[in-house]
């Protein structure tokens, strides 16, 4: 019997998972040693989450999992029944999921959730368990553990509840921890702290299997990386190898698609032979230096404030914000959730009136206009959103959506919009004309966003408000959309107000950047300068906390 410290915590060979007749994981093998962090990187549909769940015997309803070997802590589990799996879960393997708000029972105090594995697996008295719960909460950095234990997950902040989730997973100090997108729902600052926490747990000897789509996060934590696509591991190696000198084209594509540190104007994607073509731009372009004294702003927010009535008083969403977007430039608006970015977007679009201050379009009043006067001007300013699907009427086809947009752009009478015009719009965003007949529901996320862009372009606007347009998309699709927007901007001289919480994306896309915190703009400036030498401490913190991908 070999020294248990040398034996791998997890050893899987040839894992296959099928749902009904469809196999979704085709022979995955991996092993994890104590104190090692192995990451599986892939996009949605790659099978990475299914793999992770299969390692807990929880691949999902109607699934069949087979493997050559499946050993956790030396114990063979290939044919284990549910009862045996239950003994393993929580004790030998812990699971951390995304978004503690829904990964912890919102109706139960978190202390009870953490108490569960203690109750199930150990023979401890209640006072003993309670003490252990507090101990665990303290060990994950929870201030005031006794107080927190009585709270429900919704009553804690994002970072604190994620810590509670982690505490529940490591309650019995399992040797192996599986973390499935543990930081995806979190703000950058909180994300950094959670990653530190996981690193700490690893340094105590726990093996970590990290599942993520975010290469930057993975780069920070993982010792070894496996790249997964379509249910198969396409590349594996140490973190340095995979990220520094990737061998497979898909891996290279993934790395190239990460926007942070890619200079403005350089394409993130290369055209695929059979896919929609996106132009490859030959040279990088430095942040456009805008001479603000000469050129007047196209869109200007001047000391605008907006507050809302909520039960219990008024909530100030936007507090004395001033912004300018000039023709042809991209202003990036960055901030964490709750900073007021979306309200700024709505103010810019004239969907809501500011309580104080003015919004002007090309020097002329915009927010002060009454709706009737504003409507004909609306074609000058367009919008795309994070969730393209909910911005479409659920009963309409793509054709109807686009024809409607074209019709709206020609005020007065509604001309009959020809198929030709619709097809032309689709072509501009890299979609085939046949898409027109389909319903948005049947399209993929990337296709939907393209349709949304086409719709926004129908009126030939001068400025486009983009509110988290790529946050819900896979990395490679995100790269395509960002390239598309870049392209269109160049072709049409569009101005973009690009709103995002993702620093990397803003870094790549923006000429100038404004940073928002708690409803105020704390810093504005040229993108390069702002990220290299942030003046405001909050900006500095954001930049420091945002995970960066170390490339070759």
């Amino acid at each position: 019997m070999s020294d248990p410290h040398d034996a791998p915590l997890l050893e899987v060979t040839d894992l296959r998972v099928a749902f009904g007749d469809t196999e979704v994981v085709h022979g995955v093998s991996l092993r994890i040693a104590p104190g090692e962090c192995v990451a599986i990187v892939g996009e949605s549909g790659s099978g990475k989450s299914v793999t992770a769940r299969a390692l807990l015997g929880m691949a999902g309803r109607g699934s069949r999992a087979e493997s050559g070997t499946l050993r956790i802590g030396g114990r063979e589990l290939g044919n284990a029944g549910e009862r045996e799996w239950r003994r393993i879960r929580g004790r030998d393997v812990g699971l951390i999921l995304q978004d503690a708000l829904v990964s912890l029972d919102p109706l139960r105090p978190v202390g009870r959730e953490i108490d569960d594995p203690l109750r199930i697996h150990e023979r401890m008295s209640q006072p003993e368990r309670r003490a252990r719960v507090h101990e665990l909460l303290a060990s994950v950095g929870m201030p005031d553990p006794a107080f927190a234990a009585r709270r429900r997950s919704g009553e804690l902040s994002g970072g604190l509840r994620q810590r509670a989730l982690i505490a529940a997973a490591i309650a019995l100090d399992p040797p192996l921890l599986i973390a499935d997108e543990p930081t995806t729902a979190l703000d950058a600052t909180v994300q950094a702290r959670i990653l530190t926490l996981i690193a700490e747990i690893r340094s105590r000897g726990t093996g970590v299997l990290l599942i993520s789509h975010d290469l930057a996060v993975v780069g920070q934590l993982a010792d070894r990386i496996l790249v997964m696509r379509g249910g198969v591991i396409v590349e594996s190696g140490t973190a340095a190898e995979v990220l520094g000198s990737p061998r497979e084209p898909y891996t290279r594509q993934l790395i190239a698609a990460v926007p942070s540190d890619v200079p403005r104007g350089v394409a993130l994607t290369r055209p695929e032979p059979t896919g929609p073509t996106v132009a490859v731009l030959p040279e990088a372009r430095r942040s456009r230096e805008v001479d603000t004294t000469r050129e007047p702003a196209l869109l200007a927010l001047d000391h605008v404030s907006k507050s809302f009535a909520v039960p219990g008083g008024r909530f100030t969403a936007v507090d004395d914000v001033s912004l300018e977007v000039h023709r042809g430039e991209t202003l990036g608006l960055v901030g964490e959730s709750g900073s007021g970015k979306t309200t700024v977007a709505r103010l810019a679009l004239g969907l809501t009136a500011p309580d104080a201050g003015d919004v002007t379009l090309d020097g002329a009043p915009w927010s002060r206009l009454d709706e009737h006067a504003r409507r004909p001007q609306r074609r000058r300013i367009g919008a795309i959103y994070q969730d393209a699907l909910s911005s479409f009427d659920p009963r309409w086809t793509v054709e109807r959506i686009l024809a409607d947009a074209v019709g709206a752009a020609t005020p007065g009478h509604t001309p009959t919009v020809s198929n030709h015009e619709v097809a032309a719009l689709l072509e501009q965003v890299g979609l085939e004309a046949s898409v027109a007949r389909r319903r948005p529901l049947t399209l993929s996320g990337g296709q939907r966003q393209r349709v949304a862009i086409a719709r926004a372009l129908a009126a030939a606007p001068e400025i486009l408000i983009c509110d988290e347009p790529v946050s819900a998309l896979d990395v490679t699709i995100q790269a395509q959309i960002l390239d598309l927007l870049d392209d269109l901007q160049r072709q049409r001289g569009l101005a973009l107000l690009f709103i995002s919480h993702d620093l990397g994306v803003v870094r790549h896309m923006a000429d100038r950047v404004a940073v928002m915190q708690a409803g105020r703009v704390v810093e504005t400036g040229a993108a390069d300068r702002l990220f290299a030498e942030p003046a405001h401490p909050y900006t500095a913190r954001l930049v420091a906390d945002a995970p960066r991908l170390a490339r070759a």
Binding site: L349, L351, E371, R375, P376, R378, R379, I381, G382, A383, Y385, D387, L389, S390, S391, F392, D393, P394, R395, D404, A405, A408, A409, P411, L441, R455, A459
Partner: protein, 294 residues
């Protein structure tokens, strides 16, 4: 109209707006159920339009010598205290009962639509006012509001119909208002505003169609409940009176003879139950088809 049925349909309506990825996996009654329900409804419709085709005997034929006969081949549902064939009377009463149910539903739906539209579009004060009004009406649970109408206007089938209709209206109004409010603040309506469409156009092209489609399903589900309440009123002597072959009235008549002739009570009741179930099942099948899952 039961609030729960309406709530169920609100959930259905919400699902209709949810993208495919977020739809839950709904396990449903097997297709067999829908087919059976459909068959039953067809039976009801034929019984309404051409009862003669389905009756085995003259529903009004009195035959004292055959009174209180148990169900047999000659009399499928047995006979009543006057020797009339219950099955034929049940068939005969279908048109009355269905008519009451449908009319009451139409009244409730219409009134609910008016109230709901007012609340949905009338601006904050109107919305508030209508909401409070609807709440008040809701404080008269079901039958009570109907009873209040009857105490004012006297019993009878017409009054009962109006009463049931009025008592279902608040339920519909709430749902309809909820639909309008939800759609009004949806992202696609906002997107239409951004494009520069006029408010009226948005209402006509986006809000109304999306809000009203679930309404039809609502109505289908509501008919069964309306029939139940209406026959309850008849049973209590406040609606249709015997010897009308309305199902509730037949049950009222059968009450006295429960110990000797249970069939007088059971079979008309079964018709009511069957009608409610089959209209509900069909309504849900309609809702599913509208949403696009099979």
């Amino acid at each position: 109209m039961s609030e729960l049925e309406l709530r169920q349909t609100t959930i259905d309506a919400e699902i209709a707006h949810a993208p495919a990825a977020r739809r839950r996996q709904r396990l449903r009654l097997p297709r067999v159920g829908t087919i059976l329900a459909g068959a039953f409804v067809v039976f009801l419709l034929v019984a309404t339009a051409f009862p003669v085709l389905l009756e085995t005997q003259d529903p009004n034929q009195i035959a004292p010598s055959e009174a209180f006969e148990a169900p047999s081949l000659a009399h499928w549902f047995g006979t009543d205290e006057s020797g009339r064939d219950i099955y034929s009377r049940v068939v005969e009463g279908t048109s009355t009962s269905l008519l009451i149910g449908v009319t009451a539903t139409v009244i409730g739906l219409a009134l609910g639509l008016v109230l709901g539209v007012l609340a949905g579009f009338g601006g904050r004060f109107v919305d508030y006012g209508v909401n409070r009004l609807v709440e008040v009406l809701f404080a008269f649970p079901g039958l009570l509001l109907a009873l209040l109408v009857i105490v004012v206007y006297g019993p009878g089938p017409v009054t009962a119909t109006i009463a049931v209709g009025l008592s279902t209206a608040p339920g519909y109004a709430r749902i309809i208002r909820g639909q309008f409010v939800a759609i009004r603040s949806s992202q696609y309506v906002e997107a239409a505003r951004v494009l520069g469409h006029a408010r009226g156009r948005i209402i006509v092209r986006h809000v109304l169609p999306n809000a009203l489609i679930p309404i039809f399903v609502l109505a289908t589900l509501g008919i069964g409940q309306a029939i139940v309440w209406a026959s309850a009123l008849s049973y209590l002597g406040l609606g249709a009176q015997p010897p009308a072959p309305e199902w509730g009235a037949m049950l009222a008549a059968g009450r006295t003879y429960l110990s000797v002739a249970w069939w007088m009570t059971v079979f008309p009741g079964l018709m009511i139950v069957g009608t409610t179930i089959s209209t509900t099942v069909l309504g849900r099948a309609l809702a599913r088809r509208g949403r696009g899952d099979a």
